[in-house]
Amino acid sequence: MTVNLNKGQGISLEKKDGGVLSAVRMGLGWQAAPRRGLFGSRTREIDLDASAVLFADKQPVDVVFFRHLVSDDGSVRHTGDNLVGGAGQGGDDESVLVDLQRVPVHIDQIVFTVNSFTGQTFQEVQNAFCRLVDETNGQELARYTLDGGGQYTAQIMAKVHRADGGWRMTALGTPANGRTFQDLMPSILPLL
């Protein structure tokens, strides 16, 4: 069962049987720009980038993005940069995997962001979504649609944070502007 999250809505990452999630994946998918005319290759591609920023006590400690695909501790992995997008049919084009059990003990929040590296606003991007998946069984936990995101080039999607010995996810959906996660830092910090 999928929860369609609204802004600010939080869900606990506990399983129904009381077990705790051990690995989650943040998937990002969008539809490639349509090809037009003879010189189809000249179409401006849309490159969205998923990133994860690891915080300890509201200080950024590590970041996983297309230039640093694995966090130093190995608990967060990016599966690689997709520069053009996919079919827009719901498949993930970029993924960030989080092994929650291996996240270092001092990391208490992980913030997921999406940036438009090529500069298109979300108004121009078709069928874009972000979702959180239980990596152990492939079940979708939450989905957030980016379509109609307005004149923004970035969105702070969600944060996964420690709570009561387990992990909890809160959907943020805060729009922002920036090419990479660095540009978003001022917008992220108030949300922690």
């Binding site: 694995v70 501790d73 190995g74 608990s75 059990q101 291996r102 001092h106």
Partner: protein
């Protein structure tokens, strides 16, 4: 009450007269070797108890191969020079006999008191390719005798075991034939389907069926797994209980590649786990500093109860976080240590340490290996854990054994005798590279214009494993470099021109390893230029460099040689902290390989390599 021993465990022996019992589901040969101070069989062949041979004093003669054995030992009657008694099991010869211990259920060794009462048992589990296993050893410590569960064996069988204890190979082969001769047809031909396999003789400790599982091992680990078997899919386990590690649990086309990748995976995991721990501890320290500063910044609460409480709270938060980080580290290290325990014994000679039993069963390979072990890597957080440092073959960059200094993290030190150690280390690396290449696959040239490395390389030189020695001094240097430079140039031209078959007929097509001892002694400017050419261009066409040098000796060249040093992989003849991993750039302690003291494994390997290279084979 019977004690169950685990591998490596020892126990004091309260009696001098005792019996060793063996219970197995197949016929096994039992033998014993009396070992003296030097680790050699006492009195040569006379210190060995085998069926049909007069036993040494204090020992009964073992019976012929059978599923059960009883061997009486009188410790008081053993020669006073005996410090140890090794009891070994061997697979018998003959039709229907298993080819390796991995193919049969774990044999069980029992320690029986003078009245026949059982005092201890040891299930020899986890065996695979071995054909002979030292099951237990009785040893003298401060005048008293103890028993230790050993359970380690030799792929090369009884001859390898005896050779390792100082018996000459000829005699060892003769004795092995005696020990393993099978006078009767093999007993049960197949594993019994009967779930009550009660062997003859006294009942097992629990009185029920024999428990073949290792007491110290988790139940998911299959006992006696064949290390080269394709790993079975791990049973789905709850995420809190990680599956038991299995050797070869990585991707790859062959077992060799899988093990190589698994070792690199362990290397990465250790680097990252320690990064997580260090990150957490550093953060905890920072936070405590900040909190203590905050207490001091507040002039109202700088003294008094509130401040003390705040300080205590800051310290407690620090302690809690560090303890949790330590817990996570311990969990990960235990997992890696378990993996290391199953991976190390599965490694082939090229990847195994010199202390590994696979080197005793060494046979020249037919193919060069994928990679070779240069030494071990470790981090201070995990002093017990050593990760093999594997590099791909053919070497992409030359090796430089630093004979000048150690860089132990912060400062630098110059231990005495480092030069001699460096020469010995170079000879050891050269020996390994020679041994893991097929016969004729690698030619080693030694450039030692001053002759100062002659002693270290004497073993290889006498065995005929080095290319003919060039004339001493600068003339020899020029000659060898000239020849190798020409070779590199010719092969380069042939490769670029797509005319590999147009190479001159006299050209040695083997990989070449140029060992330069005491660089830059005997090198003029021209020779240095040639060497740099070889270091840059050689690896692509099979000419590799092993340099033994003190960088200060070449200080006269100024910064001109810096690119040469940077281009070589620097290793040290003593443990040293200077290598960085490619993921998080920790400083790792490199431990060079070394041969166990008193072991004849190096001579055995050099001898076997030399024999395989002799013309006419």
């Amino acid at each position: 009450m019977t004690a169950e021993l685990v591998r490596g465990q020892n126990q004091a022996l309260p009696w001098t007269r005792l019996e060793i019992g063996v219970e197995a589901d197949r016929a096994l040969a039992l033998g014993a070797v009396l070992v003296g101070e030097a680790g050699h069989a006492l009195g040569g062949a006379e210190g060995i108890a085998l069926p049909g041979v007069p036993p040494p004093p204090g020992l009964a003669a073992p019976g012929p191969p059978a599923p059960t054995h009883r061997l009486a030992v009188d410790l008081g009657a053993l020669p006073s020079a005996a410090t140890r008694l090794d009891l070994f099991l061997a697979l018998p010869d003959g039709p229907g006999a298993p080819a390796r211990f991995g193919a049969l259920a774990a044999p069980r060794v029992l320690l029986l008191g003078p009245g026949g009462e059982k005092a201890a048992g040891f299930a020899v589990t986890g065996l695979a390719e071995e054909t002979t296993v030292v099951a237990v050893e009785l040893y003298r410590r401060n005048g008293a005798w103890k028993i230790r569960a050993v359970g380690q064996g030799y792929q090369g069988g009884v001859p390898a075991l005896l050779t390792d204890r100082g018996i000459d190979p000829e005699t060892a082969r003769r004795l092995a034939a005696v020990a393993q001769a099978h006078p009767v047809a093999p007993l049960p031909p197949a594993p019994r389907p009967d779930p009550e396999p009660v062997p003859a003789g006294p009942a097992t400790p629990s009185g029920g069926r024999v428990d073949y599982t290792h007491p110290g091992r988790r139940p998911t680990a299959p006992a006696g797994r064949h290390p080269y078997a394709t790993p079975a899919p791990a049973a789905p386990a709850p995420p809190t209980a990680p599956a038991a590690p299995v050797a070869g649990d990585a991707s790859g086309w062959s077992m060799e590649e899988r093990l190589h990748n698994q070792v690199w995976g362990m290397f990465e995991d250790l680097a990252r786990t320690v990064a997580a721990y260090r990150g957490a501890v550093e953060f905890a320290e920072d936070r405590r500093e900040r909190e203590l500063d905050a207490v001091l910044d507040d002039p109202r609460g700088r003294t008094g109860q509130g401040a003390a409480a705040a300080r205590a709270a800051a310290s407690e938060r620090y302690e809690t976080l560090v303890a949790r980080a330590q817990e996570a580290l311990d969990r990960d290290l235990a997992q890696l240590a378990g993996e290391s325990q199953v991976v190390e014994p599965a490694l082939s000679p090229a990847l195994a340490g010199w202390e590994s039993p696979v080197w005793h069963a060494y046979r020249p390979p037919e193919q060069p290996p994928l990679s070779v072990r240069l030494g071990d890597l470790g981090l201070p957080e995990a002093p017990e854990l050593r990760i093999p440092m594997l590099v791909r073959l053919p070497l992409e960059r030359g090796l430089w054994i630093d004979a000048g200094r150690l860089s132990d993290g912060e400062g630098e030190s110059r231990p005495a005798g480092l030069r001699a150690l460096a020469a010995g280390s170079a000879a050891l690396h050269a020996t390994r590279l020679l041994a893991v290449h097929p016969p004729g696959g690698l030619t080693v040239h030694l450039l030692d214009p001053a002759g100062s490395g002659a002693a270290a390389f004497a073993g290889l030189r006498n065995a005929g494993l080095l290319a003919p020695a060039p004339p001493a001094g600068a003339a020899g240097v020029a000659e060898v470099l000239e020849r190798l430079t020409r070779r590199v140039d010719l092969v380069h031209m042939a490769v670029r021109g797509g005319a590999r078959d147009a190479l001159p007929p006299g050209l040695d097509t083997a990989e070449q390893l140029l060992v330069v001892h005491d660089f830059p002694h005997g090198f003029d400017d021209r020779a240095v230029t040639r060497l740099r050419y070889l270091a840059d261009e050689g690896p692509a066409v099979g000419v590799h460099l092993l340099l033994v040098a003190d960088r200060d000796d070449a200080a006269g060249y100024g910064p001109l040689l810096d690119p040469l040093w940077r281009g070589l992989l620097r290793i040290t003849p003593l443990p040293d902290r200077h290598l960085a991993d490619p993921w998080v750039h920790h400083l790792w302690t490199f431990t060079p390989p070394c041969v166990p003291r008193g072991s004849a494994v190096l001579e055995t390997v050099v001898g076997a390599t030399a024999r395989a290279r002799r013309p006419g084979r």
